[in-house]
């Protein structure tokens, strides 16, 4: 047998193999298309937030309507306390402005020491 005979046998075998083409099994096609659909839906889901208004993003970041209403209530309460403090609490502004500093020195017992140095 010559080399060309062997090659033609092999080529014939390849031709037979090509004719016995392999079909895609149905269940495999379903698996592939299920993957494709999952990827497609995931991509659509990711694309939605990207197109959103940045102010809406901030709104969501603060917790939506619930978070925002809580934030407004807390802010208003703070403002109200600032303007009309309850009577049993000292006014911090008065405390700072009107207090006599000599009381502080006397309290520390430093007044006598200072006077002694002058004498």
């Amino acid at each position: 047998m010559t080399i060309s005979d062997k090659n033609s046998d092999l080529d014939q075998l390849f031709a037979d193999a090509r004719r016995a083409s392999v079909d895609l099994p149905d269940d495999l096609a379903v698996r592939i298309l299920t993957d494709a659909e999952a990827v497609r839906l995931e991509r659509q889901k990711q694309a939605v937030p990207a197109r959103r208004n940045p102010i809406l993003g901030l709104f969501d970041g603060l917790g939506g309507w619930q978070g925002l209403s809580g934030l407004v209530a807390a802010s208003l309460a703070g403002l109200w306390v600032g303007f009309s403090a309850p009577s049993f609490l000292p006014d911090p502004a008065d405390f700072i402005v009107t207090q006599d500093s000599s009381y502080l020195i006397a309290d520390l017992g430093l007044e006598a020491i200072i006077l002694e140095d002058y004498e």
Binding site: K6, L10, V22, A29, R31, I32, D35, A36
Partner: protein
């Protein structure tokens, strides 16, 4: 094919049938959210992936897993695909072959620690498909070729790709492809000649 024909109506008013669109155009449509494009691409490219994987692995279940993974990579790469960079089929063949190589390496590593699977299970996969002792002998002989020779022979003589395309898939020169195919065919001829008497194949002369 019925759903494919109807799917062509969803292709944004284009008058041409969806099936006639190129792979790149279909992939772009899929990336833009067109589910029908995925069906056509699966029908067109899935069998090629599966055929090569089956020839390389000689195991139906493994070939199915590799095909599913290769197609999954195609779906994922769709939005980033640069038109004209390569043929999608070329890219997909390369991905499929690489996945086959990875799988075989993993199996070889696992085989060191475990009991090997019976040979018959792998061989029976192709038997069920081809029902031919001649083709069975060819597949068995292909399985005995070194990896790169088998890749080159399968792409050249089963998939009927051109040498330049095989060179691009395998990332080697055209001359290297020719050499691999020639050596692969010589080895196949020797293996089949050896099996002729052993298996009593009178029709392989």
């Amino acid at each position: 094919m019925e759903d494919l024909t109807s799917s062509s109506q969803t292709f944004r008013g284009e008058s041409i049938a969806a099936e006639t669109l190129g792979d790149e155009k279909l992939l772009r449509l899929f990336a833009d959210g067109d589910a029908a494009a995925a069906r056509i691409l699966t029908d067109r490219l899935g069998p090629r992936c599966y055929s090569v994987a089956l020839r390389m692995l000689n195991n139906r279940a493994e070939a199915e897993d590799v095909t599913q993974e290769a197609m999954m990579r195609l779906w994922k790469v769709a939005p980033d695909w640069v038109p004209g960079q390569a043929k999608i089929s070329t890219w997909l063949y390369r991905v499929t072959l690489n996945l086959c190589v990875d799988l075989r390496r993993r199996k070889s590593a696992d085989a060191l620690d475990s009991i090997p699977e019976p040979e018959d299970e792998a061989a029976s996969a192709i038997e069920r498909i081809q029902h031919s002792t001649r083709l069975d002998a060819l597949q068995t002989a292909l399985s005995q070729l070194p990896e790169r020779q088998r890749q080159a022979v399968v792409l050249r003589h089963i998939e009927e790709l051109s040498n330049p395309e095989i060179a691009e898939i395998m990332r080697i020169s055209v001359e290297a492809v020719e050499s691999l195919v020639a050596r692969g065919k010589r080895a196949l001829t020797a293996i089949l000649a050896g099996r002729k008497e052993e298996l009593g194949y009178d029709d392989i002369r």
